[in-house]
Amino acid sequence: MSVPDLSQIHIQITPSGFAFAVFAAITLVSALMVVTLRNLFHCALFLGMSFIGVAGLYVLLNAEFLAAAQVLIYVGAITVLIMLAIMLTQRIMSARTRRVVIGGYLGFPVAAGIAAALIWGFSSADALSPLRLSQERADWADWTSSLSVSLLAPYLLPFELASVVLLVALVAAVVLAVEDRDPAHPEPLLQRGEGTETPSPLMGEGRGEGDQDAPQSEGGGNAPG
């Protein structure tokens, strides 16, 4: 894979370039760990690490508000949400996931090809004249204030729509995840061979009594029919 600016990285090591290298390394190595590790809980931890690296890149790009929002939303909320979902659905320490072999053989060339095409397409972006990062570092207040002004003046309608979308999505998440004790459907929707012979101990202990009652009532209902 041809990284176009590899020579310039070695030539000029400025403090911002060094910080970029550090944050990029954190982001990419953690992302590789997310993709390749077998234990899903470790994947979630490395996902939070990758988000922290991206937050550092936002600071380098004069986007301090986005860096704070990244830490709060991604590292603080989404990673914890993913960890809670892993704890609810898996045996935590032995959650070894399998991966598709054919997907690995097919996915790596496709992903590498897309990355090479994107890098090749972006390699000429330095020649564009208006693309110049502002040198002065003290203008972060201007960036945050201009972000807030543009959020509330020209993009007010999308902003309000985003809040409505968030509200609807969170209500939908609660509706989906709440456990319905409906007596009409006491049994799981489908019992596969793999699913029935390996019930999770985490969910099995919590719902053992309910699950024992459920097949009996379902069997009684099915017997006359």
Binding site: L66, S124, Y155, R192
Partner: protein, 100 residues
């Protein structure tokens, strides 16, 4: 100083890593994590354009992407929990009721 193509290359590589994960993962939560990686790659692109062009619109849309990503994670993980309740498995290969 980091050039703009550095950020683009980084986001391209991050996007490709996420795409590779989506291809190879069989766990639904793993696929969701890789989708979050890809959304972050898009966000890096947006913020890089915003910073290098001195326009705050890119940051505004990065904020929107974050909001949509949070909604997507909440709904996706709720679906995963619901899936696990019904199938006792969150492998996407086991969920093929609507697949012909």
């Amino acid at each position: 100083m980091p050039q703009v193509s550095w950020y683009f290359s980084l986001s391209a590589v991050l996007f490709a890593i996420g795409l590779f994960g989506v291809f190879t993962r069989r766990n639904a939560i793993g696929i969701l994590m890789c989708i979050e990686l890809m959304l972050n790659a898009a966000n890096i692109n947006l913020v890089a354009f915003s910073a290098f062009r001195h326009q705050p619109a890119g940051q505004v849309f990065a904020v929107f992407v974050m909001a949509i990503a949070a909604a997507e994670a909440a709904v996706g993980l709720a679906i995963v929990v619901c899936l696990y309740r019904n199938f006792r498995s969150i492998n996407v290969d086991d969920v093929n009721l609507l697949k012909w």
